[in-house]
Each structure stands twice: as C-alpha cells, then as structure tokens.
C-alpha cells in the first residue's frame, strides 16, 4: 500500500486528514513541521506538537518532527520583512506553502520513502487529461485555494487533500468521535509565526518604525502615524484620528501610502471612490496548469474569504498581468495576491503591485 506522510500541525484538519487516509488503507505517518524558533510564550509549537502527538497516538501512527526554521527564515521571513519595508502588505502563508510545505516538506517526506504527502487544507484536486486541477474546497467558507494558488503541477499531484470534500463541522465531529484532544481547538488565524501576539510589537522588533504625517485626501495634515508598515490599504481601525476634520463625521480609511514622503493618505467613508479600483496590475504570476487560461471571463479574489469578482485579463506578458474588473474592487493592497478562478477551478494567481482607474 502507498506510504503517505501527513503534515500534522496539531490542528483538527490534518489530524482528520490522517484518519481518512488510514480508513482508505494507506500506510500513514505523521510529520510535525517546525518553521519558527521562538523563546517567547507566544510560540505554540510545543502545545501544537502535543496535540499532534495525541492524535497520532489515538490513530496508532508514528509522529516525526522536522525543523525548517532556517529555510523559512531565508526564503519566507526575509521576503516578508523586505515587503513591509517597502510599504507593502505581504502574505507569508502563501510563500510558506510554495517554498516550505510543498517543497522542503514534500522533499523530506519523499526522502523518507513516502509516495505522496497529505495536508489538512480545504481544497480538492481533479485529474483531467494527465493534468491536475486545484478545486475549491466544498466548504466554501473554509476554501483555502487562495493560499495554494502558487503551487505547481508536481506539488499538487504529489499531495492528497483528504478533507476537501468535508465541511468544518463534519471534520470536528469526526475528530471528536476519534477522541482527538484538538476536536474543538479554535482555528488558527493570522500569520502563523506571529500567532496571537501584537502585530505592531512584533514588527517593531525587526523593522525600525518611522513615524510620519497622516494626510487627508485634500492634502491637509490631520495626524501622525507610527510607521507606514503598520497600515494596510482599506484599513479603518487604529488610525488614531477621530472625525472633526471635515463636516462629515465618517470614519477614515487608508487609501494610499506615500513611501517617499513617509505619509499615510486617508479618506473618509467606506464608499469613497478613492478606495475603489477597476484595474490592477500584478506580477510573479503562477498558472497551475503552466499556461495562461484561454478564457475571457474569469473571476478573482484579491483577499482571502471574499466573493469572487468577475474580471478579464487585458494585458499579459511573461512577468506582468493587468486585470479589468467588471465592478470596482475595494482596497486592493500591493503585496497581497490576486487569485484567479474559473468556477470552482483555481487557475493560479499573482502578487498585486498597483490598483488604478
């Protein structure tokens, strides 16, 4: 029987993924991956490891551990810092998938004699004419194709996604039935290595903050910011400026960062046209099928857990892509990914550079 290594995170999804493979008769081993070294109390690696171990014990399979923190630092975290220094908002979890989980971890598992790996991602795959497609998870609320759009044919076809056909409730019910301690563990949110800690404090530790002015859309100085890197386009909370600068008392939103002058540009009201764009340009394109889809009509997500927005590709070369949306989209942030879909098929994606009208 095929030997499968399951990436056990300590969470409920990967634990259930392992159990589903065992039921299908695969020869399963768990591997716990540690990608971050941290002495602070925030690091949950040890707790996660214990949860993974308990689930593996309940399933009667071995659990091994591997440390990719050096690779993660070099190939994901450095890039993450670089992007923030440039005023962009990177998504390290996407890079972690293509560089660590589905590269280093995959190679490691193959080295250990596994034929394939498996993870607890809510995505599905379909083999069509010798090609593999990445499909959205059936539980659209949990669908994780957004984070896996950077994978290649080889990476996807070397992986099994056992929970892609289930919804979260089914997964939790199964975990409870199997006696996993993590059956009601809350879903991890945010960037994995930051966990529950204060994002600002974390970033300050690595990048010196440069406070500057907050400027309104009509050029008035209306406050101070702590450093451009702490703000994301479309952000409302945490600006530290109340109303009173104009007749309207609408909330303020970040709509631009002037890196050169270290200024944060804000506007009022979430319907403000300055926050909406019809076009965006992106680079570092990955097409899962290795080629550009020959379709006019696509949909795209510019952040996780948003509705797909109808769009078309209006310009494309080797490295850059320009998209036109049918309707303007809210706060497309440089550094985040735009991910393309044809119905339930995830076609791939690219990293947003600018949005414009």
């Amino acid at each position: 029987m095929q030997h499968i290594s399951v990436g056990m995170s300590g969470g409920v999804d990967s634990a259930v993924a392992a159990s589903l493979l065992i039921e299908k008769g695969y020869n399963v081993e768990g591997i716990f991956m540690k990608n971050w070294e941290d002495d602070s109390n925030y690091c949950t690696a040890e707790t996660d490891y214990k949860d993974a171990l308990q689930a593996c014990d309940a399933l009667g399979i071995p659990l091994r551990s591997v440390n990719f923190s050096k690779e993660y630092w070099d190939r994901v975290f450095k890039h993450f810092l670089e992007e923030y220094k440039n005023g962009r908002t990177p998504n390290p979890d996407i890079l972690c998938n293509s560089e660590i989980k589905f590269k280093e971890f995959l190679n490691y598992a193959i080295n250990l004699g596994a034929e394939k790996i498996a993870t607890g991602h809510y995505v599905r795959q379909k083999f069509v004419n010798g090609e593999v497609q990445l499909l959205k998870g059936l539980d659209l609320n949990k669908d994780q194709t957004y984070f896996l759009h950077g994978l290649s044919q080889h990476q996807i076809s070397s992986t099994i996604f056992p929970v892609g056909d289930l919804n979260k409730k089914q997964v939790r019910d199964k975990a409870k039935k199997l006696g996993f301690n993590n059956f009601n563990k809350k879903d991890s949110v945010g960037i994995c290595f930051i966990g529950e800690r204060n994002f600002k404090e974390f970033l300050q530790h690595y990048i010196p903050a440069q406070p500057g002015n907050i400027i309104s859309e009509n050029g008035k100085k209306i406050g101070r910011h702590d450093g451009l890197m702490y703000y994301t386009l479309g952000q409302r909370k945490g600006l530290g400026i109340g109303g009173g600068y104009s007749e309207k008392n609408d909330a303020w939103y970040v709509f631009n960062k002037d890196i050169k002058n270290n200024e944060l540009i804000v506007c009022q009201g979430n319907q403000n046209p300055a926050l909406y764009h019809k076009y965006l340009s992106a680079s570092k394109i990955n097409w899962i099928s290795n080629k550009c889809p020959n379709k006019d009509r696509l949909t795209a997500k510019i952040r996780y857990r948003t509705l797909d927005a109808p769009c078309k590709i209006i310009d494309l070369n080797d490295d850059d892509i320009i998209i036109e949306f049918d309707h303007t989209v809210f706060a497309a942030s440089p550094g985040q990914s735009v991910v393309f879909y044809d119905g339930e098929i995830c076609l791939g994606g690219a990293v947003i550079n600018t949005a414009f009208n």
């Binding site: 716990f32 540690k34 690696a45 040890e46 996660d48 490891y49 171990l53 071995p62 659990l63 091994r64 551990s65 591997v66 440390n67 490691y108 080295n111 250990l112 004699g113």
Partner: protein, 370 residues
Amino acid sequence: MYYFDNSATTPINEKVLNLIIKTQKDIYGNASSIHQLGRKSKSTIEKAREQVANAIGANPDQIIFTSGGTESNNQVLWSRLGKKKNHIISNTIEHPAILKVLEKLSSFGIKHNLVSVDEKGTVSIDEINAAISTNTGLISIMLGNNEVGTIQPIKKISQLCIEKEVLIHTDAVQCLGKIPIDVKDLGVDFLSLSAHKFYGPKGIGVLYIKNKNLVSPFLIGGHQESGLRAGTEDIASIAGLGLAAELVTSKIDDHMTKLNNLENKFKTGLISFFPQAIFNGNPDNKLPGLISVSFPGFRSDILMAKLDRAAIAVSSGSACGSGDIKPSTILAEMGINNETNISTLRFSFGSTNSSKEINVLLNTLQLILN
C-alpha cells in the same frame, strides 16, 4: 526494540526494580520519624549513601541525594550567590543544566567565562588558567561529554584549582560505570550523578560535596540531608540508586570491556561498508560505548526516522520540546561544519545490548545507507 540510546537514559536493572517495588511497599515510614518505621527508612537511606560513597571513593557524609543531575549542578552553581569569590569558569560544551544556569546567574551579578574546546572536544588547561582571576570561586567542567564522550582532564584542572585556591565541580552524569571514578583521585570538590544513567530509576541523583560548608541548600525547608536538601526523601528511589551504583561499579571492568567490545564491533562493521563515516570526539580518551558518528551526505533526522521504523532507537543533536532536531551546539563548538553536524547520530550502548543486536544495527544501517 533495539535500544542504543543509553546515554539518554538506561533501562532499569531488574534487581534494582525489585528493590524499589519492595521498598516502596514495605518501607513507607518518614525517615524523619523516630518510630520503628521511620528508623527503618532512615537506615535504608544510609545504606544507599554508603553504597554510593563506596562507588566513587567518598565518605558517606559527603553524599547528598537530589532529584538528579540537573538539581545537583544547580545547587553547586547557585551556592556562589552571596560569596565573595563568585566568578565561575566553565566551558562551551557543558550540558544546559550548567550553561543555562550560568546565564541565569548573570542576572544576579554572578559573572562567568566559558573556555573553548578543541576539535576533539577537550578543554585547554592553559585557557582555564588564563581565565582565573582573583575573584574566581568555582570551575565547573564535565567529566565525560554526553554527545561525543570526550573525557576532560579533570585531575589536571583540579591540581590547578588547588594552586589557585578555586573550587572545582564536575558533572559526571554520563560516567558512572563507564570509567572508574574516585573523587579523591580526581581531586574535585563537587561531583554530580544521576541514577537513570546507570540502570537506576529516574528522578533521583547525587551530589558529592567534599566539605559540607561549601554549599548552600538549593531547596529550602526541612532538615533532611544535613539541611542541604529539604523535602521528604524518596526512599525507594534512593535505595534503588544505591544498589544501581553498587552493581555498576562492583563489576566495572566487565561493564567497560563489554562496552568497548560493542563499540569496536560497531565501528569496524560500519567502516567496512561506509568508510566515509566520521567518528567525533577524542578517540584516545573517551567514554566507552558512546559513539558520535557523522554520515556525510545524509540528514540525521531522516536516518533516525528510518532506524525508528526498524525499531532501532538512537539519538541526534539536541531534541527540543516539539521533537525536532537542531544542529548540535556541542559539535558546532568543536568546529564541525553545519553540514556534517546535521548528519550526526549518537549511538550509546549499555549492559543490555548484545553482539547480535549490533549485527541487526549494522545490517539496518547498511540498507539505509545504500
């Protein structure tokens, strides 16, 4: 299971286990009580103290029982607190139960210097000599290293200590039964031992103290252990420790010969099909049966996983709370490059291993390495 991880811990000796069970059941009095049961407990402890003293050439009143090597080390180091001569000298390849304690003590104003080691893991006496200042109060150097087995020149260091009027501690946790230990011959003031490294129970250890005025209690409370280690004694474990110490040292020549034979058989066999193997440590002065081997071109975590599948237990680097392996700081301090470092496994043999088991180990390794 093929168990070649005896430096991590040893399986308990059958006689020791039986004594522990019997003691736990029958000798339940509090050793501080003066009734018959209390007296029985007290004499059980004192018998063990004598057994340990005999095992290392000490007097019984120089022995106190602790919870293990970690506590023994802590007690010696923390005893510098409040002393005038409070500077400590140690070295870069000590166990965390020394290094982390020194780090902590820095925040209490206790300064230390760590001397380096050479490529075989041996400390330099000249470097220690140069590090001694007028307020140096203690030198702590392990007797035999836990990862590479290198034996340090403690006797020479203790001669230096006498000259310079500095106290000397040695962490000998890896050593009992593997090399003869005589505290007078070594010339040390303090020595740490842990029962589970010589076929005794876990959670119990020894601190040898040449002169009881030289240390303060680390756990404070009742008057047990001459006021140097408070807390009701774990009589069964102490009895087990005493017997284990007696058993492993009374037949130390046999034990050493056995370990040496297993080691030679393993090394010769390994080189025959994997000549590129690198043996780390000091080949001329090492603990028998503890072998650190680098497998150039291989990752130790992969090798370990494959051996584990074949029910063979070895160890690698320093495993942490989440089970993953980091490059060994000890090998790094010895100047071994990162690539070689992460290709290193430690095989540590013990009294329960047989020549046949070494054959299984060699055959499995040959399959994995080809």
